[in-house]
Amino acid sequence: MTRHSLILYRDDHPGDDHLPSFEGNGWLAYIPIRLHETKYVQKSLPPNAVAVLINQAHSDLDIFLPVNANEKQIVDAINGERTIEEIIHHHSHLGTKGLSELLSQARGLFERLYNYDKVVFDTSSKSGDGSP
């Protein structure tokens, strides 16, 4: 990489860091927002993947995120308005998985989506305990 781009606060910035956390249940209240430079690729897919998500702003070609059919349905439900909880409940009507299995799958998926620069989260409406 030829440059570092980062977001900074003042060191006396009030409150917590607003960094997304997938501990507890607070993450269910996050609103995922897809980054505009993210797109699906549906050629030369790895086994079990129905698509690969790439971020066109990445110069490293090895940074891609394969998703299976269930995961793609969840990603497709991201509209910048629904919370993760709403997306999961919407998705739970589509599949046969139990809610706890779906929550576990969704937690891993949204953490990967965040780490791989496919989404950011609006955490401003995060509730106190984030109970689903």
Partner: protein
């Protein structure tokens, strides 16, 4: 353009002082290792005493076409819009004030200027769990490193 200031620390501190307490800033600086080819050519230009006249800059641009494709600058010339224009070339190779940062140096700058790191604008390239490194024998050791390392 903190990296073109004689004192980037002074510059960042000045930005920090006018930032709202609950505000955030998006900062960009050059990266030491990725810009390695640029710094090789900066040294080359300094050794030859290349100046900013149109002839000198055009001669430099023509000379760069002779770089082998394996030269560290060659990839940047092919990819970076910043240095494919004449103005960009002057800025990249003939700027007398240019300081790049490694990740640890950048975190030291952030600390020194009483600012707090929130996140990389694009973070996946910095995370060992993303990309092909995650499948190497070093993956577990890499994940144990702190973000600053």
């Amino acid at each position: 353009m903190l990296h073109h200031l004689p004192d980037p620390e002074f510059g960042l501190r000045a930005l920090r002082d006018v930032l709202e307490t609950d505000g955030a800033m998006n900062l960009m600086v050059y990266a030491t290792y990725g810009c390695f080819g640029v710094y090789m050519l900066q040294e080359y230009c300094q050794r030859l005493g290349i100046g900013h006249s149109d002839k000198e800059v055009n001669d430099l641009a023509n000379t760069l076409t002779a770089l082998p494709p394996t030269h560290p600058l060659a990839r940047l010339l092919g990819e970076s819009p910043d240095i494919t224009s004449i103005a960009g070339l002057v800025d990249a190779l003939l700027n007398p004030q240019d300081r790049a940062f490694t990740v640890p140096q950048l975190f030291a700058l952030v600390d020194y200027c009483e600012t707090r790191f929130f996140r990389w604008v694009r973070q996946a390239p910095y995370l060992p769990q993303c990309g092909s490194l995650a499948t190497t024998p070093h993956a577990v050791q890499l994940e144990k490193l702190t973000q600053r390392e």
